[in-house]
Symmetry: D2
Subunit: 377 residues, 4 copies
């Protein structure tokens, strides 16, 4: 590869900042990956995006994503906009021959997600790569968890207990936002946090969810918007039990009303020969239980910072912990490595579609008193 | 009261041992309660019950509970037998004018539980007291939790996340027992551990559950019994979401297959002004979060061993922790105090019935693909 | 043995209550030990001791310990008085042919401790048993720790980090007590809590401390007594580094001023092939690290409640945790088992003396600017 | 300021990588600080430093630091070499009018540190800034701890319990390195990890240590070097008690032999109205105890990721945790902010000297059987 890969990021708020950070640092930590150039940051407000571009290390700023995806100096399009624009940008970029990384969830609807998965498959046949940004797959402790499960260290998994609990809406006085309107957000906490959980369940167990029973709840049905009280049209909290193809059961609980929980993604995996526990607020730790008992059995707290741990040789000595944003840098490295290798990166758009289908089954179930729905209805 | 209250315990295995311990110690820690005398221990095997009686400090042993409940020197009948005999013994003892404490769950069926609740109400009108042994209400940390909720320290509770996870059946080679046969046990983990969880949800929130959606699973469908392989006819794991009368939601997960979890009763209570967390494996601790944020907000680990904590003035100095069995001693003290005060102790048989109705709704829901059932169907 | 062993306890406040509880329950949990009878409780205030005796299950009460140790129906004398009377009672009881258990620390001075150790050795030659009540040796998790160390599971131990932190004197307004006067207490936190720590270091490592460097501090030099301000003549906090015979190093920190710490006895043991951690506030847990590294190395949280764990077969099923007071019941059982076996129980008075000598070396060092003193000066 | 500040980093191994990362990212997170340019990376091996420079984002590489400090396009010299070259480079750079940041510890000897402190003072009078890289002051949780102490939230601090425990030398087969030779490293774990601890004690309490009693130990006296067995001439572990000017006491324990501890910097601060606890392996958390008791007192786990927490407004939403390397980025920002403000950044070379004097007192004490030495001997 004679010149660095040119990257464009679309969107410059929370996710745009996190992805910019990843592109700025990926070559420093993963020098074996293709060199990248932070070519252009894209946003609708010209002044704001120019300021963000300067701040985050971009060479250029632009307001028209349609023009950007046609640029010759852009090889990768990384989409960090709200979900309702994912499909349009991703499909156009793929059609223009650009590799595409898109923030999760893949789309706001199953129909859009299907369209994107199809475009990705078409792209792949032409050597165009695409992936969806379920960055928690890149948490080294979770990558280690998956490896241990695959190696049979916990035996056959029977049940998973998962939750993702935050509290930023616990206060009824918190104002209305686009995230609480169905037309812009598509879904509430289920789509936002539930998508992470569902992806991790499928990823860790390496098999799809085939059926779901769900319950949704909006605890604060109205919040103050710019023009006064406005109905909240998405869920504040959601519960589900999921069944995987081979018959495992996963319970899921997600909430934005869990007072005191800041970023509480917790996973417990119980197998017939061991178990695993994880908490995102302590993301450098994995708890492993091996065997079924005995006088020194117990959950072992692994500080996942050793060079032999997934992705960690690139970073710091043992015990020098990573932060949340490093998962995006690892994600960028894995994406670049796939481009270099000429393989399709994971999670694919098809994986993103599979998540959407599970979320959809949960919503359908919740609308029918919790009756179990399959993901292929 | 001129002579000590005579106590009879029926049953001398695990629960009989725990209750014997309570009666042996209650006056030492709670001298203000009525004096008791460990009058007679009852069991079907004459030799075994005699040995247990001697060991556990009983003055007498007997094999015929029907004779025992007629004895003049017996004032309290404490039933520690399997659930299928609760109704018969309890109703007969109440009819004979004895105060009755019965181990949880109240009964194996809703019908039996209804009959018992009626007998208890009749007894109460005659000054005869009765209670069901949901001993975890007596864990000081949980009693404190209830007090804090009642005082509004966490605001209006919105959701509860509860689990009771054990692993004594994780090994498929673990043999068949009466607890895994529907005819003797009535239910699997749902009745055994789920009953504790449901009682605590209703107790902590101080309101009934009115609807439930559930899922049951038997992961190991056959185990080796005395005559070879035998089908397991009860659940190994259960999941439910519960709705309380005022619209709160509680999630429940119970399992005997949760490898590595020994006695993992965990509770999380999220209100609109705070939150609580509890883990039975660390039963002297309660975690409290007050308020919705701010620079020093966080979950506070309260070591619940101060004299001003519920039931703790009777015990040891701060930081000198209680064990699991002390909850039975406190339970006995509370039962005796109600007798002395001429009031009905809690939890009543009606409370026990309410738990059965929730368990029944969960089972009915599970039998119908998770469709939500009300507790009054 | 044709009749139960008659036990006398001298002292009926905090420790008298804890020891009474042990004698009341020991046969129920350890039926293979000799039967005991709670013969007589001894105290100076006739009314108070009679009330305590009735409450704690004693058959008799008495005010004159000299008369009690001569009684034929008394076989065991258990001394729970303040340290300044230990030597007199213990030596007299041993001379009278009674087995003696004495609360820790063995005595207030090395001279007294030497006299007691000599009396114990004389007694042993006549079949009279004696022990000092370092009850934390009976915490199952610590007994397991000792076993694991002896088995080489952590390799050669290099260093121990120990602390015992409480906060009941953190408030300068806390009043004067006998524990803060040198003439009655002998020492401050060093003798009270430091003695536990020193005993555990020697017990876990199975070798004596031979040298110590120490520092003492009285943070609140005066407190309000019955007649106004009174000087505090003992230490509020103490620090030491200890060297064992084979050259291991242990650091010790003890304090009654550690705000927020209720009963914080913590131990960390670092060997050349593993490590152990313990915290008395979670006394049912031991954390074990095996090996020097590797991708799944970590501290393992062992819930020490399995039947194969030390002393636990006598109690409850796995995960049903013990409390602080159960350590005294186990201590009583071990003492009785030694009587039955005709062997000397541990810890012996000689062990108690060894602790006193270490405390003395720490005090001497502290008085000389921290210069290291040997324990045999 | 018309052009970005040109930065030179000297050294490109572990610390050079960490500092490069900081300079690469500082403007993205702290846009209000002066703009910087990663001008030149300096090292002795021309090929290696060129590769590192390319990888870490530097515009240039060089091998002669003396030439670099004279360059007009260099405004800041950041020294990441071993301690024995700190004094020469720092003094020369200050003389050349460059702002200087130097890794900790300031120097290998008190004499060098004194010389550097003098040069820094001279520089300051000319507007030249200097600081020493005790990066743990920048951990937001520790910055919060200092703020809370200064605000009196824990009252008057009485005692601090500190440790820094690692295990990378626990294996006796670990080979010889320059860090284990006195001539190159100056000191062992005391200088390496002990310097962090001493700095934090003085920083958190905002007063100097005036006296120390210490003990040093080399557990593995010989290790295999390139030419066979070689003596280890520095300490593997160290213990000290420190006294501050106002009479507070801090205990310190540092070790490279603490099997299982990866990066265990732990701090406990006990005041007369509260307490604090911290563990670097969970660096986003601070535990605060307020008050002296009451029914809901306890240590509160603060997840230090709120915008109102020190330095955190620059980063991510609540609960999205930082990693170890972010402390260097914050350090760079604070250093730049001081340059912009025309004030002296902290910690100053004088602060670094104060740390050296405490370490020196510990070493002198250890050489004299633990006798307390003052820091101004």
């Amino acid at each position: 590869m004679s010149r660095p890969l040119g990257v464009a990021v679309v969107g410059y708020s929370f996710m745009g900042k996190a992805h910019s950070n990843a592109w700025r640092n990926v070559n420093a930590f993963f020098p074996e990956t293709p060199a990248v150039r932070q070519q252009v940051l894209v946003g609708r407000d010209a002044d704001a995006v120019a300021a963000a571009a300067a701040r985050y290390g971009w060479h250029d700023a632009a307001t028209d994503w349609r023009a950007v995806i046609e640029r010759d100096d852009v090889d990768v399009v990384d989409i960090c906009t709200p979900g309702d624009s994912h499909a349009a940008i991703a499909c156009a970029a793929l059609a223009a021959g650009k590799h595409v990384l898109v923030e999760k969830p893949l789309a706001n609807t199953v129909v859009e997600a299907e369209q994107m998965a199809k475009a990705a498959a078409d792209g792949s046949s032409r050597g165009i790569r695409s992936a969806v940004g379920f960055n928690y797959r890149r948490v080294p402790a979770l990558a280690l968890a998956r490896r241990l499960i695959a190696e049979g260290r916990v035996g056959e998994v029977r049940q998973v207990r998962a939750a993702y609990l935050q509290d930023w809406l616990a206060d009824p006085a918190a104002p209305m936002t686009w995230r609480l309107r169905r037309e812009s957000a598509g879904s509430g906490v289920l789509g936002d946090l539930g998508s992470h959980v569902v992806d991790l369940v499928q990823h860790l167990l390496d098999e799809p969810v085939v059926a779901a029973s769900g319950r949704l709840r909006t605890f604060v049905p109205s919040r103050t918007g710019p023009d006064g009280p406005e109905p909240v049209t998405v869920d504040d909290a959601a519960w589900a039990t999921l069944e995987t193809r081979s018959g495992r059961v996963a319970s899921v609980e997600v909430s934005r009303m869990a007072t005191g929980r800041k970023n509480g993604l917790t996973l417990e995996v119980y197998g017939d020969a061991g178990a695993l526990r994880f908490d995102l607020e302590r993301l450098n730790e994995l708890h492993l239980h091996e065997g079924l008992g005995g006088p020194t059995a117990g959950f072992r707290r692994i500080v996942v910072t050793e060079p032999e741990h997934p992705s960690l040789a690139a970073w710091w000595p043992p015990g020098h912990v990573l932060g949340w944003d490093h998962t995006f840098t690892i994600q960028a490295a894995d994406f670049l490595a796939a481009i270099a290798a000429g393989t399709d990166p994971a999670p694919s758009f098809a994986d993103g579609l599979a998540v959407q289908r599970v979320l959809d089954a949960i919503e359908r179930s919740a609308a029918q008193d919790g009756r179990t729905h399959t993901t292929h209805d």
